[in-house]
Subunit: 345 residues, 4 copies
């Protein structure tokens, strides 16, 4: 059975990645592409400034872009992927849910809402059932599901593995984030060539809250956030794709670096079409992972870890994921696949 | 009175910066330039692959490069600046000291030795008197003085200010380091364009030990290292000059961000010729300091700080310094100036 | 005598460079800064996203930004510098000229107009007298003077020297242009990191027409454009500042590379405050000039040349100039200085 | 039938690309990997500093590296690929040919020799029969075949198409070349970040001579070089892979841009396994091709062309190819495939 799909915000950097991932996927069929007013009525080729190093799929290129509103999307669309600016998402996504659409969203609005599942399938698939609470409370036929932001996704799988193994108490994380995370024109070249910027909007706060919700426990009614203390410092650097992060993790119990590496490698992936065979790849070389070298592992869906070492209080390590694949478009697609598998579609 | 100066390792990246700083300095006169075998006998212009964006000073350009050994350097040289590879420095610097030369060295060898002063003049000028212990123990007429490595220098002035204000207990630091820190050919372009490397040789260990020695107390006989817990994670990124660092500092006493900023700005500079008017510059803008924008503040000798904020355990901030000026050549020159002022020359 | 100055479009990349150059200039006093609607009423510090690696001059930072219209500018302003988008310049500059202001403009509109002087002072200062033709025809008390675009300015001084020495017949030029030439947000980082773009708006046409006007002869009534055949190919590359160009110049007479280098070095500069001592600097090293190494020669006002060699039809060489100093803001300031010296103010 | 293959210089940047291409190729089986003295006896994983963003193939990683001499290579190897430094190639390749090996070489030595085929299969496959002249003259059982250098390969297919259509008389070409063309450590990051270098060793001369040999006619006894006048200007820019070139081509007959585009698109590819379906891809968008966006077209074996326009003397266009695939490793592999098809193996 093929699932009919619509993409909200299809011309942006994440929208382009969604198309790259969904077009070849045999289970999904792209039926609708939406964008802002100025693009409506144009072919996708005209409307998007395509920045991926493969051509636009031919059928997508000729698709007419429609407005970002429920009436503009055909009724037979089963699943909506959303990568809208958060202010737009906040206004529009509930309209789609009310109109009966299930929305797998990458937009940052509503991620912390009590009744909105924030999910990385390999980490907390069980949180998806928060949909039932949501439908009860909001009276929707549709549903709103979120994936976390790209820098959070990069660190949470390894943190989940370590939490299981030794209990997390305190986290510090410094990020080295690629420019694609800010969208196509988010970072000008004059800002970033021969430079680095030690601040990214509300990113630090997002990492601190979203990670605790993801690592929390769902008791069937609500998610009890993990009580680890998380402090993030976010930097933009001159790389195209791939967020690299340095993490310090204080653990409740002692865990040797080699035991930590075993726990990381053993952390299970899922059978979803977009899940990588190996969720967490651990490098022996201390200078890996690196963005340009390792971001495409597992078709961009693997999280890489390296430099695991002991500190006085626990462990220190580096991790990397492709920010617009595992960290955004791929994350939404995975959630879409989980929705299909869980019978929500 | 002019001090006659020799430079060991004059053709390297730091050697070039030493020439840039010392040539216009009215108190110093360059008398000797040394380099490795293949450069000996050539003019400096021929021997060095000059990478600074100002021309080689004319008189320096025509100076003949000599061997890196005491006999090749004129006797009337009063002060030696050394930026040798550490393995060479380890072998050669003691020979110069034994031959009676005072050596202000940027090389990483011997920095942790008990009787070697490791000094940032504005932070721990009093450690310079360790020279007397050194001369007693080693029987030298000369002396060996070290500045710390570039990433350590960047964070220690702000840490010293915060230590004074509230007592440091635990430090985590993630660095975003410029390629010039690895020397002229240390990082190939294929390694670093569109990339970042989460590992730099023994840099993490250096930051952890050197910072504790610098912040320690000298009781006239030995330096009692600071007992703060320091954990560093070092990254190379595609910037030319300027090391940016994210620091978490747990403090013994509570210190509000605004009180911290006051303490940082009030931390005194010195009257040495190369000391900046303001040692620590504090930015209000959360996205500053940035390497390309702020590395040249105070002629490259200021340390910039920004993003000061509270954490559960203390403070978090960003800092930046020009790694080959404040962090290397300028650090050695400052130590040279302190040696002159302290009467060691 | 101090000349009171207004700057139109003061918040843009060239506007910032104008402030950097004019503020320390003892002959000029900044009286008015204009920008677009959204900036009016703000202090310059608030209105501009400053991108130059030195702080905003204090008095400029506190100046209130006014609207880009003659009424908003004090009457005692003697000279207007303009770096507006060309569509705005086209509408607004004539209004200032009609209101009696002399406008030295970097905007691309009107450069090819018959009665508008297009001037590089060291090359064709005599064209400035076209102002009289302009005033006759347009009935203005003020005047409109243009400098050419940044990529044209880079090659025209060496071409002028070679034209004098051997007569130019045909020119091909390929450019490697810095991102600052497109303004602060003109080139996004996703477009240019690890990339190059072989097309820049109407740049090729500008180089072909403006160079021929600059090298033309003014007979007191009109400029007879040079009849050399000029073909340009323009590329954007990931550099911050400095346009590098490869030029092939077919000459009417034979000219050896060494004779060409002599002619280039002997080409005279002027005594204007912003003219460099040496207008054209010739490098012997075949791999120079380079943007990062040589763009600041002569305080960014020198044109560098290297790689001069013979071809079957003439000569081939490389040239470089700082695109926002010599190529834009400095070019306008130089024209302002020439206006002062020529008595037009 | 599988061809047993040896790779000389297997650890370098081109050697790595040879492995990437040959390993998955069902017709070739890697039997021997050679490198310099310091690597001999190590596994390939230890010996090579792998820089390609996919893992080393497992079987290759464990292969023991042998010395670069005929005796170290098993006798059953049928075909040798060589990517040695030219000075080494000059000494060693003839020894392999004398020992009976057929060598498809990317090294720059001997490319201009009268009896050495210099071949781009889609352009001048018939030149391969120069092998018979070579064997007569040198008495070899083996043979030495060369592909041109990477910047030459990029422009010659479009030039061949235009030569057929309208006759080439004069060529000027400016290159914007990626750092991988200089090998793994050929360009240091301090040289090229925020910079460009207008000179690449003997590259200009290579482009001028190799292109004329490739476009020449082979009469069964010798190659008559094309008599077009070729002048090249070569630049290194901060891109990882992909050489972009601006070309001016004076033609004997008039050829409109649209007729030129037709001729380019119609220029035939071959049926060799590594030949792309479309040899020359023509872009309508004036800002294409771009290195990061288009270098991987046709698995890195397509040559892209854009910006075709008329000049007074003929045509002007831009072209791009992946310099280590189409321009080096892929070029050698293609020649190997042609050798197999032509029965020389």
């Amino acid at each position: 059975m093929t699932v009919s799909v619509g993409i909200l915000g299809a011309t942006g950097a994440v929208g382009q990645r969604l198309i790259q991932l969904i077009d070849p996927n045999p289970d999904f069929e792209i039926e609708a592409l939406t964008a802002s007013e100025s693009s409506v009525g144009k072919s996708y080729r005209e409307a998007s400034k395509w920045r991926i190093d493969m051509p636009i799929p031919d059928d997508v290129a000729e698709t007419e872009v429609v407005a970002t509103e429920p009436d503009a999307v055909p009724d037979d669309v089963d699943l909506i992927f959303s990568s809208l600016p958060s202010s737009v998402g906040e206004a529009v996504e509930p309209e789609f849910c009310e109109a009966g659409y299930v929305v797998s969203s990458n937009s940052s609005n509503a991620r912390a809402d009590d009744d909105v599942p924030l999910v990385i399938p390999e980490v907390n698939a069980d949180h998806m059932d928060l949909i039932e609470v949501q439908r009860d409370e909001r009276g929707w036929d549709g549903a709103l599901i979120k994936n976390p932001n790209c820098s959070t996704i990069t660190m949470v799988p390894p943190l989940a593995a370590l939490d299981e193994a030794a209990g997390l108490e305190r986290i510090e994380v410094a990020t080295l984030q690629a420019v694609s995370g800010a969208g196509y024109s988010g970072v000008s070249s004059m800002e970033i060539i021969d430079n680095a910027i030690p601040h990214i909007g509300k990113e630090e706060k997002k990492m601190e809250t979203e990670s605790r919700k993801l690592l929390g426990e769902f008791d069937g009614a609500e998610v009890h956030w993990h009580d680890a203390d998380v402090a993030a410092s976010c930097n933009r650097i001159p790389t195209i794709d791939g967020h690299l992060e340095n993490v310090w993790a204080d653990t409740a119990e002692d865990l040797s670096p080699s035991a930590a590496e075993e726990a990381l490698e053993a952390y299970p992936s899922l059978d979803l079409p977009s899940s990588p065979d190996q969720l967490i790849e651990v490098f022996d070389e201390p200078d890996r992972p690196q963005p340009r070298m390792d971001r495409n592992l597992g078709d961009g869906m693997t999280v890489s870890v390296g430099g695991v070492q002991e500190t006085t209080h626990g462990l220190q390590f580096n991790c990397l994921a492709h920010n617009t694949l595992r960290g955004a478009a791929g994350a939404s697609v995975l959630n879409g696949e989980l929705l299909v598998e869980s019978g929500y579609l």
